[in-house]
Symmetry: C2
Subunit: 250 residues, 2 copies
DNA sequence: CGATTACTTGATACTGTTCAATATCCGTGG
DNA sequence: CCACGGATATTGAACAGTATCAAGTAATCG
């Protein structure tokens, strides 16, 4: 089952998350401009930090700002009245959030780890966008990329079983980790740091914490992963769990 | 359960699907321009028709065109090697499809009913976009609106049971039907035409056809819906099944 | 009118949930 | 340094919801 389906992720352009801390004032050079590296954005906004589990914005708040993540991991989630929660995505360094067709945010964003980000007034960004086609296309890319991610996630939630969901989650995380600055030893074996708790994973995958835990234990027993600690996982060998959506049926 | 959660849909701007069949050459009047009504787009493209179950494009095809739907219903879906299918969304008149961050389409689109649409060369649209901020913002709206829809669907697939899923589906369809040109008698009772088969509904909701069928039967037995025929459903009375994502927990 | 497809219904199996207990991790204070 | 306590994670047993398999019914089309 783990090799049954191969990823559409592979076809995607690489995530660009070069966050220029120094913010040199180089002018936006047309084609290569990415959100994370754009000095304009960094100058336009205000830096902020958030501690784990603090809220960046609530669903229903006025959507007054965009946020460009500098470091850390966040979760974007929706809550139902009865307490059920769905985490739509995890948000990483380089990601832009806050765009919406609504005047209000349509989901809540909270910090998973300590987070630093740049808050940008929506109107300020939109003014800039009119003058800068480069910025505009960078934002469009960000939105389209999120859309793509959501579509894959729909396949995961709609048509995959627990083991496939967890495997896919680990693979996605491994991809993200691979491009993260805090490079762990990623030679032959991909060791991933799991920044979020089991509860977050469960709410992301549409499962319960117990099921997530059980699947991880089973993957370990099957020799597909190793778990030096409960938030550190090694995808062992080359049979790295491949189970992702988007494949064309024969 | 049916009244447990209330929709985020309510907060969304109305879908605009005024398709100008006549295509008068009125110039794009700034703020009010919508994709469906934009004469530019209609002139730019080529009209096509599709019969039920024919393919507009396959996942993996070169993403050379945008398509603006004039009439009919389509499904956007992903297939897995083993035959599993997830329908990410149903596509209606007024919708624009084909945008992607990839050079290839990331999902397959097929006609559910007879469909007419306008095919627009991607490059042609993108040239226009640079000159026309109005067109650009219309496209952005379309993308953001789809993103919003996907996010709600994630909650549905990740956290809702079969009855909630089917109820929500019926409500969404009722909203869409309400604004459709072929206006059925929608006075007090909302009668909806179900254009897609049970299999499509199942693959959209992450269920099996049997479960969809059983839930519909149960809703009927409970007096929540009436089914004059198997593709015509009446949401009876005011207790119209309200079960949708996006609600803020207390 | 027969054949095919779509839909419904029933019986059973299985995956994942729920409830409950136990284990592990981590920070605090004796 | 170890003991304690709370939070987080794992494991077990029973249960529930949905899938699967199979049969039967209704709708559709040539």
């Amino acid at each position: 089952m783990l090799d049954a389906v191969t990823p559409i992720e592979a076809r995607r352009p690489e995530r660009t998350l070069t966050v220029s801390e120094g913010s040199k004032t180089t002018p936006c050079s047309a084609s290569e401009c990415t959100l994370g590296s754009c000095p304009l954005l960094h100058e336009l906004g205000v830096s902020k930090t958030y501690s784990p589990n603090s809220v960046v914005f609530f669903e229903g708040d006025d959507a007054a700002h965009y946020f460009l993540i500098t470091s850390g991991v966040l979760r974007g989630c929706k809550l139902l009245e009865d307490g059920r929660r769905q985490i739509n995505r995890f948000i990483f360094a380089g990601d832009l959030i806050g765009y919406s067709i609504n005047p209000k945010y349509t989901f809540t964003v909270e910090a998973v780890t300590p987070v630093t980000l740049v808050a940008l007034r929506r109107s300020a960004v939109e003014n800039r966008v009119e003058a800068s086609p480069c910025l505009h296309s960078a934002i469009m890319k960000s939105v389209l990329s999120e859309l793509d991610e959501m579509q894959d996630q729909l396949v995961t939630l709609g048509r995959m079983n627990a083991e496939e969901r967890v495997s896919r989650f680990l693979c996605l995380l491994a991809e993200r980790s691979a491009s993260m600055p805090a490079g762990l030893a990623r030679d032959d074996l991909a060791q991933i740091e799991i920044p979020m708790c089991r509860n977050d994973i469960a709410d992301y995958l549409g499962l319960t914490i117990e099921t997530v835990s059980r699947v991880l234990s089973r993957l370990k027993a099957d020799g597909k992963i190793a778990m030096p600690s409960c938030n550190r996982i090694v995808l062992t060998g080359r049979d790295r769990l491949k189970t992702e959506p988007g494949d064309i049926a024969a």
